[in-house]
């Protein structure tokens, strides 16, 4: 299977570097993302998750 893919891709000049670059970009991005979400401040996150529950407007609606 890999051989088959390689056969088609060989015709693109400098193709070897493409998958490597893509892989590195996404690997770093998603690792960074994981590190971020694991290290993120819990109080901050709780604050963000409360955003939809800001109920001031409902009380105004009942004026």
């Amino acid at each position: 299977m890999l051989k088959f893919i390689k056969h088609h891709m060989e015709t693109i000049v400098g193709i070897e570097i493409f998958p490597l670059i893509s892989f590195v970009i996404f690997f770093v991005f998603f690792i960074g993302l994981f590190v971020y979400v694991l290290r993120a401040n819990k109080t901050e996150l709780n604050l963000h998750s409360q955003l939809p529950l800001d109920a001031k407007e409902e009380s105004n609606a009942q004026i």
């Binding site: 939809p52 529950l53 409902e58 004026i63």
Partner: protein
């Protein structure tokens, strides 16, 4: 009475101890909600009608405008873009204002967006039954409407981004990320897939051909599901489940990973719609791998939604809004597990072209999108009318009728899909097909089609119960067009704390960054799959005996496209013994190089037609199209008598040839001028042949052009000795 009407206050906010007073626009939300409901009813009614045509073909009423091939696209377009589309806009316009603590950017743009979108729907409802179609599934609308869609979509985008930019809440809640990704990706998909060359006001040809057209179309088709039916509704889930259950989302961390992983992976999965088709193997494999990976973010999102309700299950028993949400999210989970399974080649070999796929789509459509929309309606209408729901009992009744509707829809379709596929593949010990007559496999599953229609009827009946309940609710309350709210404006010279993480600095406060990077994420998947298929010639090996269509065949092909034949017939023989034994030589990528657009189809209600050419005499097609049961007793195909009265558009012939030449089809220089005579000659030869069978027909009738096309289809390859095509 709590009406407050001072929307202009948004422009000059009252400064009161540094707090702005402003008003949320409920009117636009209500307009979209009403449109959702109306088009939900229309789209589902058309769905029920087409479902009944399966076992009662007379329900096409004998006229072309209500024949299955034309109104099945009407059903799909209506439920996707009218029902769900308006549902998205209602939810976004409601939640975005509140999450940004700001009124929509411009009331005028909101109105242009609303009326523009409804006009597009109206145009679709008129043009599709008239047979104006580009022949690409879920993208059937013709080029002027495509342009209108792009423009109105941009209006929506400007209004949304404008609102985000003037927000009073620095942090962008995760729902907004999903809205932003939806906006950029749908724009990209729509524009790339709608590239077409117009030849008249309502007729165009896809600029892509064959394999490339198929890949672009399913990159679009799959991601229409992803970015029109999924990501915006996930945004709504992240807003409305916490809102309705009054508890924050289970894990905000998970939602961040959910977002990035989902948009990155989804865009690659399109080729799983083309497994075992004439698409390069590497593209198929990429599609499979990414489809399997999709389970992770999809289920992460589903669990995040469901676990939000942990500890609140007692309320789920009481509250119809939560009930609808639980079933919606559960259906999302089922559909997103089933989808990757269907992407495995061994599952796909059984399921593709059958009713299994129809069941899969409707678990998502009826369950996830439908029930989420109903939940939103039950939640928002009482809110916006300052009252309580008229009847919880009726809402519960709707819930159960709707759930039964989904079950009665899906189970028979699963059964039908399995049963028919196994019949297609069954051989006798001697090695011949047990069900060599395709029709036998159709008549066996007609009871399942009846049950499916019953399921659809139940589901639609539930919607009427909801409408009654909501009208009663609205009458009991009083609509609040503008709701007063207060919030402090953002500090302009805000300096983030050095301890703040990069993700917040880069994305969570910066909507434009988020938009650009979402676009980059989704472009990469598309580019990697699509560009090599276009540029690397070995992906579509040329077959020298494959020649362009004659002008008359081109006319016939356009009639084939107009009548939506692809909604029931494939033109794609997969390399299986069961298929080559039934239909003939399997399909090669090089056979479709002149097909603008491709017509591979995705469902076989009738047999594959790729090798129909020269299989039957002209007279067979003549009688079959006039009365299908005369040639195939028991057939559920509708008759096409209008083809015997209408004339093929002779004067359009040179235009068609010129357009094809522009797209790279190698007709000889100056052929356009001879094309009318060429078409007339070919038509005459068919008429003479028919006359020898005792059939009298004029050469300018549409049926002659259609016969020419049907007799040509898939025959070029037989000119090769021993079918030694290069691939």
């Amino acid at each position: 009475m709590t009406e407050i009407t001072e929307p202009q206050m948004e422009m000059k906010p009252k400064q009161d101890l540094g707090v702005d007073t402003f008003y949320y626009d409920n009117s636009i939300v209500r307009m979209f909600l009403i449109a959702t409901t109306i088009f939900g009813i229309i789209g589902m009614t058309v769905g029920l009608l087409v479902a009944c045509q399966f076992f009662w073909p007379e329900l096409n009423f004998g006229i072309q405008y209500t024949t299955f091939g034309r109104i099945r696209p009407l059903h799909t377009n209506a439920v996707i873009f009218a029902f769900v589309g308006n549902g998205i806009f209602s939810g976004v316009y409601y939640s975005l204002q509140r999450l940004c603590k700001a009124r929509m950017f411009s009331d005028l743009l909101s109105k242009i967006h609303f009326w523009g979108w409804q006009s597009i729907i109206l145009a679709a409802a008129i043009t599709l039954p008239l047979g104006f179609t580009s022949g690409k599934e879920y993208a059937e609308l013709e080029w002027p409407i495509d342009i209108a869609i792009a423009l109105i979509w941009v209006v929506f985008g400007i209004n949304m981004i404008g609102t985000i930019l003037k927000r009073r809440e620095r942090h962008l809640y995760v729902a907004i990320w999903f809205y932003i990704a939806t906006f950029v990706t749908v724009a990209l998909l729509h524009i790339v897939n709608s590239m077409e060359l117009p030849i008249s006001l309502f007729k165009s040809y896809s600029v892509y051909a064959g394999v490339q057209d198929a890949l672009v179309q399913w990159w679009y088709g799959h991601n229409a599901v992803a970015f029109f039916l999924t990501t915006p509704y996930l945004g709504l889930m992240y807003y409305f489940i916490p809102k309705a259950s009054n508890r924050p989302i289970y894990s905000y961390r998970l939602s961040i990973i959910h977002f990035w992983a989902l948009i990155f992976i989804y865009i690659w999965a399109g080729p799983h719609h083309l497994l075992y088709n004439a698409l390069p193997d590497w593209a198929q494999s990429l599609g499979v791998v990414f489809s399997i990976m999709l389970i992770a973010p999809s289920w992460g999102g589903m669990l995040n939604g469901l676990l939000t309700l942990r500890g609140a299950w007692d309320r789920v028993r009481e509250d119809p809004v939560l009930k609808f949400m639980v079933v919606a999210v559960t259906c999302y989970g089922m559909a997103t597990f089933e989808g990757p399974m269907l992407s495995l080649k061994n599952f796909n070999a059984v399921a593709h072209f059958t009713d299994w796929i129809v069941a899969h789509v409707h678990v998502g459509g009826l369950g996830w999108n439908g029930f989420m929309t109903f939940a939103m309606l039950y939640y928002l209408i009482p809110q916006m009318y300052g009252t309580k729901l008229y009847s919880k009992k009726l809402a519960n009744a709707h819930f159960w009728i709707g759930t039964m509707g989904i079950i009665f829809y899906a189970l028979p379709m699963y059964w039908a899909g399995f049963a028919q596929s196994l019949m297609w593949k069954q051989f006798t010990p001697e090695g011949t097909l047990v069900y060599s007559n395709f029709l036998e496999t159709v008549t066996q599953i007609l009871p399942m089609y009846m049950l499916r229609a019953f399921g659809g009827f139940l589901y639609l009946a539930g919607v009427f119960v909801m409408v009654y309940n909501l009208i009663k609710t609205a009458n009991a309350g009083s609509f609040i067009p503008n709701i007063k709210a207060q919030a402090a404006p953002l500090v302009k010279a805000y300096k983030p704390d050095p301890s703040e993480h990069w993700h917040r600095r880069i994305f969570e406060w910066r909507p434009i960054n988020l938009m650009i990077w979402s676009l980059v994420m989704v472009i990469i998947g598309g580019v990697v799959e699509i560009i090599p298929t276009f540029l690397v010639s070995s992906n579509v090996p040329t077959i020298t005996s494959v020649k362009p269509y004659t002008p008359l065949e081109l006319h016939g092909r356009d009639i084939y496209v107009r009548e939506g034949c692809y909604t029931c017939h494939s033109q794609m023989i997969r390399p299986f013994r069961s298929e080559t034994a039934r239909y003939g030589e399997y399909a090669k990528a090089g056979e479709f190089v002149y097909d603008h657009p491709f017509q591979w189809g995705s469902k076989r209600t009738g047999p594959d037609l790729l090798r129909i050419g020269n299989k039957y005499p002209n007279s067979w097609h003549y009688f079959h199209m006039l009365e299908p049961t005369s040639m195939s007793p028991g057939s559920i195909m509708p008759p096409y008598p209008w083809l015997y009265e209408q004339e093929w558009a002779k004067d359009m012939t040179p235009n068609k040839i010129n357009a094809m030449q522009t797209l790279g089809v190698p007709y000889a220089e100056g052929f356009a001028e001879e094309s009318v005579a060429d078409a007339e000659n070919q038509a005459l030869s068919i008429v003479v042949d028919l006359a020898s069978q005792g059939i009298e027909v004029k050469s300018d009738k549409e049926i002659i052009a259609l016969i020419a096309y049907l007799q040509r289809m898939g025959t070029d390859i037989s000119k090769i000795d021993g079918l030694a095509a290069k691939n």
